[in-house]
């Protein structure tokens, strides 16, 4: 069994102290220890983006981060976006534009898009392509995803 280390961090605004196994990825820690299953597990080698989370405000593949690296950092997952039952504007525009079919990539897409809108409130197509370069949608909803992000930028 893998050694455990105590880590302190902020998860979706709340301070937490937990034990994390050194052999565990951040993705596994989020899903299996924090029980936040909105973050999806896809390829687990950084190619699909389903596991995208914000680490200190920046989008990263949580499958390529060790859980113990979370110590002292701020983590935001898809669960943080809706407040008191009200959807975040990106979640709403994804619904409005039907920017998904199966929905598996959607949490990662929305997290990447949220980080994009924070650094570029009025993104161009090129900005969106760049920001979502690591988020794959195998249903091929890319046109609708781009439209949803542009729509959210106006709101």
């Amino acid at each position: 069994m893998s050694e455990k280390i105590t880590i302190s961090f902020t998860i979706n605004g709340d301070k937490e102290t937990r034990e994390a196994a050194v052999g565990q990825t951040l993705l596994s820690f989020i899903r299996d220890e924090l029980h936040l299953t909105g973050t999806k597990s896809g390829c687990e080698i950084g190619e699909c983006g389903a596991c995208t989370v914000l680490l200190n405000g920046k989008p990263v593949n949580s499958c390529l981060v060790l859980a113990v690296e979370l110590d002292g950092k701020e983590l935001v997952t898809i669960e943080a976006l809706s407040k008191n039952g009200k959807l975040d504007k990106l979640q709403q525009t994804f619904i409005d534009h039907a920017a998904f079919q199966c929905g598996y990539c959607t949490p990662g897409m929305i997290i990447s898009a949220k980080a994009l809108l924070e650094r570029k409130p009025n993104p161009s197509d090129e900005d969106i392509n760049e920001a979502l370069s690591g988020n794959l949608c195998r249903c091929g909803a890319y046109q609708e995803i781009r439209a949803a992000i542009k729509d959210a930028a106006k709101k």
Partner: protein
């Protein structure tokens, strides 16, 4: 679940001791190659040494010597660093073509060269810029040219107990345009099938190619034809790249395809940097 020890230290001397304390110690900076390699069984660490608290590795500066990029600086930070964008945009292009935006938020240039893939996207630009690698260990510091840092696929010039502290692109910067072209199967998140960097220095040119030999290589036959013999027919000059490479067939492309595409990209690079 993977099994290994994990230690994070901000103290360089302690890091050197830990590096020598066991046979299989893997330094962790961005982790984007390390974690994929561990999952695939390519790397089996006894100890993971997390370097992210080492202040000496966080430097990103321009001074009278040139531009120095610390081992912990991410590729996205390099792409946005104004002295890089203004003076050596070919390096920003190389950094930008690695992985995806999320990968580049973690991945580092030191990791990219230490992993020593012949396809490393930052390598061909670094070869064209005559960059140097600053190495530090318990025995002191040393500096090696980047083309002596790559020893073969996955093999770099580090001795046991040494770390890459930073990469420096020395002044004078090139006077002229530089381009990096990457042929890959998908628009992002794929290694280069072929990577080509072409940098003009006034009326001279430097050309480096990746993924067509055991290490990235300078296309010296092409450079020689242009710089020494005044070849202006870029098709003829580009065809000489075949003398400098020894590509293999793998899942990203056949040997023959690599011979073809590298020539096309070198010609295109010469056209775009040296004028049609």
């Amino acid at each position: 679940m993977l099994s290994y020890e994990y230690i994070k230290t901000g103290d360089l001397q302690e890091a050197f001791k830990l590096l020598e304390s066991r046979e299989h110690v893997y330094p962790l900076a961005g982790g984007t190659d390390l974690i994929v390699g561990m999952r695939g069984g390519k790397f089996v660490p006894e100890l993971i040494l997390d370097l992210k608290d080492i202040e000496e590795f966080k430097v990103l500066t321009e001074d009278n010597k040139g531009i120095t990029i610390g081992a912990l600086v991410t590729l996205n930070e390099i792409c946005q660093f104004k002295p890089v964008v203004d003076n050596i945009p070919i390096l920003a292009e190389g950094c930008h073509s690695v992985g995806s935006y999320m990968i580049r938020n973690r991945a580092t240039i030191a990791g990219n060269i230490c992993n020593a893939s012949p396809a490393a996207d930052t390598s061909a630009p670094l070869y064209c810029l005559d960059a140097v690698v600053n190495i530090i260990g318990s025995g002191g510091s040393r500096t090696v040219p980047v083309d002596e840092f790559f020893n073969g696929p996955g093999q770099n010039a580090l001795n046991k107990g040494e770390l890459v502290q930073s990469v420096t692109v020395l002044k004078p910067y090139p006077e002229g345009k530089g381009v990096y072209f990457k042929a890959s199967r998908t628009g992002s998140v794929d290694l280069a099938t072929v990577g080509v960097a072409v940098q003009s220095w006034g009326d001279r040119v430097k050309v480096a190619v990746g993924a067509v030999a055991p290490t990235p290589v300078r296309a010296l036959s092409v450079e020689n034809a242009v710089n020494e013999y005044g070849e202006k027919d870029w098709s003829k000059a580009a065809a000489l790249v075949n003398n400098d490479i020894s590509p293999i067939t793998d899942l990203r492309g056949s040997r023959e395809y690599r011979y073809h595409i590298v020539e096309v990209l070198v010609r295109r690079g010469l056209e775009q940097t040296m004028g049609v």
